[in-house]
């Protein structure tokens, strides 16, 4: 089994990198590092398996001499989509930092629960006052 893994080394490395990205997503507390891995995970998962020799020449239309062009198209789209997703995620991070004051998920969560409790207490208070008035 290990011998076969060594032959398909590109795909094996792609899988390992995806695993590292997943672990980072679950365990990392800092938000920006999560985005670094989401960007890297996207185009690794689309690894090609080409044959030898190059692509592009015109009058030689023999199939045996060209690289498989289909994964190239898919990966191209993947790279561009990952750029736009990264940009969007960074914009959201900037707003997140502005509101909660830190990039650490745990402290932001505690702040969010405190705000939630205060909001619920205020809402309950308003309901009481409303009942008394009416």
């Amino acid at each position: 089994m290990i011998a076969k893994l060594l032959i398909n080394h590109y795909e094996a490395v792609a899988v390992i990198l995806s695993g590292i990205g997943l672990a980072n997503l679950l365990l990392q507390r800092n938000l920006i590092k999560v985005y670094l891995f989401l960007a890297a995970k996207g185009w690794v998962s689309e690894r090609a398996a080409p044959i030898l020799l190059k692509d592009g020449s015109e009058w030689v239309m023999d199939v045996d001499k060209y690289v498989n062009p289909i994964p190239a198209g898919l990966v191209l789209t993947g790279i561009v989509v990952s750029v736009s997703v990264t940009a969007f995620a960074l914009a959201l991070t900037l707003r997140f930092y502005e509101k909660y004051g830190s990039l650490n998920i745990d402290s932001a969560l505690s702040q969010m629960t405190k705000e939630q409790e205060i909001l619920e207490a205020e809402a309950a208070l308003k309901v009481d006052i409303g009942d008394n008035i009416s």
């Binding site: 089994m1 995806s18 909001l119």
Partner: protein
């Protein structure tokens, strides 16, 4: 007997939740100190361990130990899950056919057709460019739409701060003051004075970069490259210009109106030229542009205009996102 059982269950339930009276020997309880009228002593009797109910014990334990135990459990489970998933995937990888073999199922008849008839049908010398802009043009359209949507959403998020001018209604959200988000921090480009080295290098390299970008876009069907690569290179030229010569100069010819107008029209041209296949039942309407001979620049039918459209969209989007991050406006 059922009554006794029910009473027993009721007592057990009351004991767990603490609703019922404590049934331990109340006669043997110690005497409480007398409560005098003007003393303000709070009730300082801490219940001992065997007098607490199960629910209170559970709450105390959670308050003391819950966070650390949860974090340890969470970390170990996530590591185990990742290792298991990676292991399963590696086993799958070892079952795959060998790398680059000719009998792979991935190299099937579709590639035969693309390579043999691709040159004559699309007129493109670069098989990849011909494939993504002729055989699979709809995927490229979707990807351009994703780029445009990303840029518009970043525009909405980061420049809404300038349009809101009212005070926050809630004292709670006083940190989230929209007005101060981008006005407190001065724009990055205005902090710099004249940088002679940067300006010298930029004045030499910006024309070269723009030229290379245009060459890569226009020769998309002859050489490797195409719309995306050329658009990315053009955007780096714009970013360098904004860095070296100040943001105001670029703002004169590339502002928000220009970007939205150019991107929307480019997307519309793309949609009109390739999106009708849904309504005609995947029958290809012949466009008036001839395919021409392979190897000329003006060949390959619609590939050249589509490359230019994609290049415009990509360049505008990448520069627009950069400008929003550093200035707050395009």
């Amino acid at each position: 007997m059922n009554d006794g059982l029910k009473k027993f269950l009721l007592d057990f339930y009351n004991w767990v939740t603490g609703n019922g009276a404590r049934t331990e020997n109340e006669d043997a309880m110690t005497e409480l100190p007398p409560v005098l009228p003007f003393t303000m002593e709070p009730d300082k009797i801490q219940s001992r361990f065997h007098e607490k109910t199960l629910q209170e014990r559970r709450k105390d334990w959670i308050n003391l130990h819950g966070l650390s135990v949860f974090s340890i459990l969470y970390r170990s489970f996530s590591i185990i899950t990742c290792v298991v998933i990676v292991g399963l995937l590696l086993i799958t990888v070892s079952e795959l056919p060998p790398f680059g073999d000719e009998n792979n199922p991935a190299n099937n008849e579709v590639i035969d057709r693309y390579i043999k008839l691709g040159g004559n049908e699309t007129g493109a010398q670069n098989i990849v460019a011909g494939m993504i802009l002729d055989y699979r043009a709809f995927d490229t359209f979707g990807e351009s739409a994703v780029l445009f949507t990303g840029a518009v959403s970043v525009l909405m998020i980061l420049s809404a701060a300038r349009r809101k001018n009212d005070e926050p209604k809630n004292k709670l959200h006083s940190g989230f003051n929209d007005r101060n988000f981008l006005k407190r921090a001065p724009p990055i480009h205005e902090l710099k004075d004249d940088d002679a080295i940067l300006r010298g290098v930029a004045s030499l390299s910006i024309p070269a970069i723009i030229l290379m970008g245009c060459v890569v876009i226009i020769n998309g069907h002859l050489t490797p490259g195409g719309g995306f690569s050329g658009g990315a290179v053009l955007s780096t030229a714009l970013i360098l210009c904004a860095n070296a010569y100040g943001f105001k100069k670029v703002h004169e010819f590339f502002n928000e109106r220009t970007y939205i107008f150019s991107s929307s029209s480019a997307l519309l041209i793309y949609a009109l030229s390739k999106g009708y296949s849904f309504f005609t039942g995947a029958n290809h309407i012949e466009s008036g542009i001839p395919i021409g001979t392979i190897g000329n620049i003006f060949s390959a039918g619609l590939i050249l205009p589509l490359n230019i459209c994609v290049g415009i969209i990509v360049a505008g989007t990448l520069y627009g996102v950069y400008a929003l991050f550093s200035e707050g406006e395009i």
